[in-house]
């Protein structure tokens, strides 16, 4: 209680500071130069919209305009190609970056935060702590230096998707796919009809990481998985091999051309009623809606079934996104204020009104208007105690893409070589430069 009160007072203090800053800025404009340092919060703030096309621009404009209306600070926004921004992130952040932008939690913010490229937003998260769940703040905290380099905003579940109508047709109940045996039965019956049991894409090298993540968490638990990805457990361990045993059991049910398709091919398989089950991030659901309401209503999502009763369904891949502030931006204080606004109730409301369909972690986020699929997504997220961020955000960048991706691809091509592949993966981990 007292802590909460503290937060409130802290919030109002901050608010006061912001207003004071704005006042000073106005004064500064009148008598130029008198309060140049204090007027920083009043200077323009630059925002990068990371992809999203027209919808992305509309959402950014809505939130940024609301920020301007509230604080009087002008926001200058630009949209960039998401992949380019991601690939050149270190260079952009060392140049003259925009002050605030949407970014990803986990290794991707912690790594660049430790390198001094992202500003510490611990104070902003603290100011938002009344609406942010403790788990989200925990997830946004760098385990190494205990600082936070991102204000958590949205997330989405990686879970098992299927079409209710197809499951009914093979004589199963779409509401109760709970166990590994249920999944096997679903895949077997679908395959009998000449369709794909479990659709997988492995072309990009990252799609199949989702299946590995969840299998490892189901077989060995969250802690082992995170330990493995951070070098505290070994790839050659019998436990890791056990995970790949389950992975191998899925291969006979997969489409044979998994090396030729990526996530969009997987989505199309489900969209065209060609596959029984698919593990993927729920972001693709909008494409079902775009095709027809009937297709969208037919889509369903459940947690990946339990395997080891010790862990049940206590873990899920739910990549957490948020807002980060560039440490080298021209207006760091302004960037922090804008980032905090994006994480606040007003910011979320503005984004949702502009067509944002993401699930926000904030307790202020109103889900009463949710349709049944979105409510089910929330239920799937709520069923898990531990949140993984996906393999390429849970481990270092020079390991995930260059080493684990090809290792899983090689396993899918030659499942019998798994021992050799895991030995090699472990050797490549040990060869990495230690920080």
């Amino acid at each position: 209680m007292s802590e909460e009160k503290n937060m409130v007072s802290r919030r109002s203090v901050l608010k006061g500071a912001a207003i004071g800053g704005a006042g000073l800025a106005a004064g500064g404009a009148l008598s130029a130069g008198t309060a140049s340092s204090a007027s920083a919060a009043g200077a323009d703030v630059h925002w990068t919209t990371r992809g999203g096309g027209a919808t992305g621009d509309a959402i950014a404009k809505a939130v940024n305009d609301a920020f301007t209306a509230k604080t009087g600070v002008k926001v200058i926004a630009q949209q960039v190609n998401s992949d380019d921004f991601q690939n050149n992130f270190a260079q952009i952040m060392q140049g003259s970056p925009d002050d605030a932008f949407g970014w990803m939690a986990g290794y991707r913010s912690n790594h660049f935060g430790e390198a001094g490229l992202l500003a510490d937003v611990t104070a902003q998260n603290k100011a938002l702590s009344k609406s942010l769940p403790a788990s989200a703040i925990q997830a946004a905290t760098n385990p190494v230096d205990k600082k936070q380099y991102i204000i958590p905003t949205t997330y989405y579940p990686w879970a098992l998707h299927y079409r209710k109508s197809m499951v009914k047709k093979i004589g199963m109940n779409p509401e109760s796919i709970n166990t590994w045996d249920d999944l096997i039965k679903l895949m077997t019956l679908t395959k009998k009809k000449g369709l794909v049991g479990y659709s997988l894409g492995a072309k990009g090298g990252w799609e199949a990481m989702g299946t590995f993540d969840i299998l490892n968490a189901r077989v060995n638990g969250y802690k082992y998985h995170i330990d493995l990805l951070n070098g505290r457990a070994k790839w050659t361990d019998a436990k890791t091999k056990e995970t790949f045993k389950y992975f191998a059991k899925l291969i006979p049910f997969m489409n044979t051309n998994f090396m030729d398709i990526s996530w969009d091919g997987m989505r199309d398989l489900l969209l065209q009623k060609k596959t029984g089950a698919m593990l993927m991030g729920s972001w693709f659901a909008n494409d079902f809606k775009a095709k027809s309401q009937a297709d969208y209503d037919d889509l369903w999502v459940v947690p990946f079934p339990k395997i080891n009763p010790k862990f049940g369904i206590d873990t899920i891949d739910a990549p957490l996104d948020g807002i980060s502030v560039a440490a080298n931006g021209k207006n760091v204080a302004g960037g922090k204020a804008l980032a905090q606004f994006w994480g606040s109730k007003e910011g979320i409301d503005a984004a949702v009104a502009a067509g944002d369909t993401s699930i926000y972690v904030s307790k202020d986020f109103d889900t009463s208007g949710y349709d049944s699929f979105n409510k089910q997504k929330l239920a799937v997220l709520a069923s898990a105690k531990n949140i993984m961020f996906f393999l390429d955000r849970d481990t270092r960048g020079d390991f995930a893409g260059p080493v684990v991706g090809p290792a899983i691809q090689n396993f899918l091509k030659n499942p019998k070589d798994i021992n050799k592949i895991l030995e090699n993966t472990q050797a490549q981990w040990e060869a990495l430069p230690k920080n």
């Binding site: 390198a115 090298g205 030729d260 990526s262 020079d398 090809p406 060869a431 430069p433």
Partner: protein, 303 residues
């Protein structure tokens, strides 16, 4: 007479040397400086970086790694040997199949066979497309859900695995790359053939030389300068292959090539100086054969 000539010579030398000096400085000096700044300095820095650990962010984080990056590539990394194999097959295929095909086509077209203008434009067409565009076109044709798979009545679920099938994808990729390379070589050779004196061929024919003998003993030797260019281009095109495969796969792991591995380890999220080491390996692989080849040829020229 003598003195007048010397004066004239002197004057012309003097008057030339002023402008010469200026033109020489401008036309040789500036490109040389640019070349050094934009090419040799980065190359030298890359070589140095390949012996370090660095994530590309803060200069003070650079740590000496010795040959560790190279050791990681040679000892632990199956992708490297796959890439080496793929680049090797690419080079061999271009040397043995694609380049000779281009030369033969050029020779046939130069002989003026019927409809040669049509053939010429058909073979030349792919050359105007960049490899990236060619990648997009052939991806659209052969990927699951693509045009060819659709013609065969195959949907995504049962589409034939082509790009992902390691038994055939090498040959599919090489076929696509050759589609462009053959036209390119044909064009280069054709322009050279146009400058061969037809009297040479006629004389040989009168002396009773066969078509093959004329090609081998007359055309090839007179085309020596073009041949050098073609060999160098074939070498470089094979070793620097990147865009086509990158567009088709989007990632370097299914059909690894050295350049793709440079990119994966040197740009983006997985940045480490292993990428620099890959770049140095590629540089050595490109430069050594080219220099050797050029030296042999220029030595012959000097003789």
């Amino acid at each position: 007479m003598k003195t007048a000539a010397t004066v004239k010579k002197n004057r012309s030398r003097r008057s030339l040397s002023k402008t010469d000096r200026f033109t020489l400085t401008a036309f040789v000096g500036i490109p040389t400086i640019l070349q050094i700044i934009l090419l040799w300095v980065p190359a030298a820095v890359t070589i140095i970086l390949s012996f370090t650990y660095w994530n590309g962010i803060k200069l003070e984080d650079i740590r000496w790694a010795g040959v560790q990056n190279y050791k990681n590539i040679f000892v632990n990394n199956p992708l490297f040997y796959q890439a080496l194999k793929n680049n090797g097959i690419w080079l061999a295929f271009f040397i043995v199949v694609a380049t000779p095909l281009g030369i033969i086509l050029a020779y046939q077209i130069d002989r003026g066979i019927r409809g040669h203008a049509i053939y010429e434009s058909i073979y030349y067409l792919p050359v105007v497309l960049s490899l990236a565009v060619i990648g997009i076109i052939w991806n659209f044709m052969l990927q699951p859900g693509g045009f060819v798979q659709g013609l065969m009545g195959l949907d995504i679920g049962n589409a034939i695995s082509i790009y992902g099938n390691s038994k055939i994808n090498t040959w599919v990729i090489l076929g696509i790359a050759s589609w462009r390379h053959i036209g390119y070589i044909m064009l280069l050779y054709l322009s050279g053939l146009k400058s061969v004196d037809p009297a040479l061929k006629e004389a040989a024919a009168i002396d009773g030389a066969t078509e093959w003998q004329i090609f081998r003993k007359i055309i090839l030797p007179t085309m020596q300068p073009v041949n050098i260019i073609i060999v160098v281009i074939t070498l470089i095109e094979s070793l620097r292959a990147f865009d086509l495969v990158y567009i088709i796969y989007g990632s370097p792991t299914i059909f690894p090539l050295l350049n793709l591995l440079v990119f994966q380890n040197f740009a983006g999220q997985g940045i480490s100086m292993k990428g620099a080491a890959y770049a140095v390996i590629l540089l050595v692989l490109c430069i050594v054969p080219i220099i050797t080849y050029l030296r042999i040829n220029f030595k012959e020229d000097l003789k």
